[in-house]
Symmetry: C2
Subunit: 245 residues, 2 copies
């Protein structure tokens, strides 16, 4: 039999927490002293350990109570649901990360807070990613859209995103350049190599995406590739006599 203080020391759980678990009926001490002090048995300790394990797995105390109260809990179902929840949360965090990185570089490269662009980024990510790509429906087939999702939300490292954003930002800061100039050509060359890196040299996807970007009337399209950047790249291509796609 352990007092609440001993149990607390042994398990690392605070007394207040044990107090609370008693209060909500999650772990009731199996006996008490004549004076009313709580005494926990070995069984209680085991129960507590199970609670801690389930808590670590992300279940709420309410769920844990249900699970442990049930004599034959449907574990696989519970775990499956919990896993789905975790996966959704992972997706949300991934988008959050992308948004933060996007905003960070937007600030770094533009030197100020460009709220409209930030709003666009947020809007783009706020709805589910699938919906965000609907605007490309006319130009990209489903497989291609899925691939872009991967690039945007899954496979790409922060380092790659950084370089990609830098390439675009460099162009944004030099829109005034003569398309025939060597510098313009160099900037676009860097952009092309980054684009190829990101899309794994999938020429067809790249071509279709390019078509889509050119035709989209407004918005930030593929952040931060706005119309100005796209037009500049196109002018340089024309200057070089290349007709992309």
């Amino acid at each position: 039999m352990y007092t609440i203080g001993e149990l607390s020391k042994n398990t690392g759980v605070t007394v207040r927490t044990l107090d609370y678990y008693d209060e909500i009926g999650l772990i009731k001490p199996s006996s008490k002293t004549s004076g009313g002090h709580r005494l926990y048995s070995e069984d209680d300790v085991m129960q507590l350990e199970r609670v801690l394990a389930l808590k670590y797995m992300g279940f709420s105390l309410e769920q844990i109570k249900d699970i442990l109260a049930n004599s034959k809990p449907n574990w696989q179902e519970s775990i499956k649901q919990q896993l789905e929840l975790v996966k959704r949360e992972q997706g949300r965090l991934k988008m959050l990360e992308q948004a933060l990185v996007g905003v960070s570089y937007s600030i770094e490269f533009e030197g100020e807070i460009n709220w409209p662009i930030i709003f666009s980024i947020i809007q783009l990510y706020q709805q589910d990613p699938e919906a965000a790509l609907e605007q490309y429906r006319e130009y990209l087939n489903e497989e291609e859209r899925k691939k872009i999702l991967d690039v945007n939300f899954e496979q790409t490292s922060e380092e790659d995103i950084k370089e990609w954003l830098k390439a675009i930002s460099d162009i944004r800061n030099n829109l005034h350049l003569d398309p025939h100039s060597e510098k313009a050509e160099r900037l676009v060359k860097i952009w092309v190599s980054q684009a190829e890196k990101m899309f794994g040299g999938d020429e067809e996807l790249l071509g279709d995406l390019w078509q889509a970007l050119q035709n989209l009337k407004e918005g930030i399209a593929f952040y931060p590739m706005d119309k100005n950047v796209i037009n500049f790249i196109e002018r340089v291509f024309i200057a070089k006599g290349v007709t992309k796609q």
Copy 2:
């Protein structure tokens, strides 16, 4: 000028939320009617949009208030901190996912809730992963430990983990087999191929890890590779006349 209801409809934010933002001084309407009804200006709307953007990025209302109150907020610092927080949370979720998958297959393969194993899994993941690998310090250098972390927490697909766990589970369920038997040999063969798949054919890492597993006195080591499993594999190796590493 918008009433609170109009603003709510335009932005999708509930009236109660705007009420709350007013209450905590986050967004105060810039004027009121004689009767006390709130009137929001265009500036207020912009402010609200900024709040929503920052909120999406995961900042607390308290932080948002600080950031927006500050005339020259240190954006990069704020975003960096936020990113770190997000990354920590991502790590936590990744471990949670692994723990859930581990427990799920532990149940599926063993047919019951093996609480001791589950506790071990939790304990292993509860401390930070680096610390969990400290027990291998004697056998694995830093680079190798880092590689294991990747396998454990990053790169491995759920499908691969499933097969890996199945291979081990199959052995656990057949510990009684004669090491010379054909079935034992087949099981170990599957295990070896899975191990090689997971560690990308890095023979040296595999060898060192094997050494580590053999020498660890207790614990679940590399879940669910406990002592029994390791000993069985070793016996089969010996039976075949192979001296692994």
